[in-house]
Symmetry: D2
């Protein structure tokens, strides 16, 4: 985390920023909708709705969350990973390992 100066990591962060600027509002809108789904689930539990209907909503919410993750991952690979790759060196390999570890966590979660 700490104190990068002029590494690929920094250019990564810059680009990630630029990547965000275009899509940030879209991500925020999707995350607000997901927050709404979490509130909707509370309401369903509160009103003791039918379990299967609640589970259907949990599946829909999980799908929405995974779609956000996929978008972020695509942005991340397009910017951070590719920039680190162009810069080359051990940083490049580290970025790719970091990204595939994140993917492995998504596949398992």
């Amino acid at each position: 985390m700490a104190a990068h100066t002029d590494t690929a990591a920094e250019s990564c962060h810059d680009h990630a920023t630029h990547g965000y600027i275009t899509a940030k509002d879209d991500y925020l809108k999707r995350l607000r909708r997901i927050e709404g789904q979490a509130r909707g689930l509370q309401r369903m539990v509160e009103e003791e709705k039918y379990c299967i209907d609640i589970l259907t909503q949990v599946s829909a919410m999980t799908k929405a969350l995974q779609a956000v993750a996929m978008g972020l991952l695509e942005d991340h690979i397009s910017h951070c990973v590719v920039d680190a790759a162009i810069a080359g060196g051990p940083e490049a390999e580290a970025k790719i390992k970091e990204a595939t570890d994140a993917i492995a966590r998504l596949v398992r979660s």
Copy 2:
């Protein structure tokens, strides 16, 4: 799902209710925490945090959501499915099919 009278579905609903009464507060607490995670993700995107850190949070949130689903499913099988099974008939088979369909959606989501 409208107007059951004296079917296994009703006993299911009654039991589901009883099932909820014990654990309802626990589910609500977990869902509020998940709602908080959705807000935390918005803050991370807003502040343009590092992608991989956001993805780690998405994985944690997905896991929390799946744990809620597993709890609900266990309650549902213990009450609705088992009651329908004891009552027997086509209702029993329908309940089991409905539950395994919900599981299949969770496995895929």
Copy 3:
């Protein structure tokens, strides 16, 4: 569903057997096809096919495997879990816990 002797566990095993008899050939056919997919993947790696095409086959094979799991799970709930539930007692609860643990492993795998 006659002639339980000792425990629900034993009747479970008997019924599971009966459950298998109807669908056993279907499961074996599907598992042989999955075995064939594993051999197909070896051939693709051997011939150095395009990564993405190999990954597509891995996804297809995973889906086929999950479908087998869903079928087995439905059979298991219909027979073992339900029989244990009808017999009642701590065995019933243990069976449900065991089944939901297996589901949790499938959701995560």
Copy 4:
């Protein structure tokens, strides 16, 4: 990262090949073990083993398969995607899209 001739796609294929050469035997060994797991499952069904034990084996096999997918994906990103990215142009974007689509299929499968 030498000697691209025509397109990034071609260099991708070349590099993928090189990527394979180092790890090919390892992938083949893992896939043979997975094929063995598929045969083991057939034996378990044949001998009518306890459902839950079969499901545990299905989960283990799915995990092994996903681990192969993760390895292939890491190789693919390190070689094809990065090379296409260095070459730049619409090909680069297409490669990233193709990789994230494959990831999305893995997450859902």
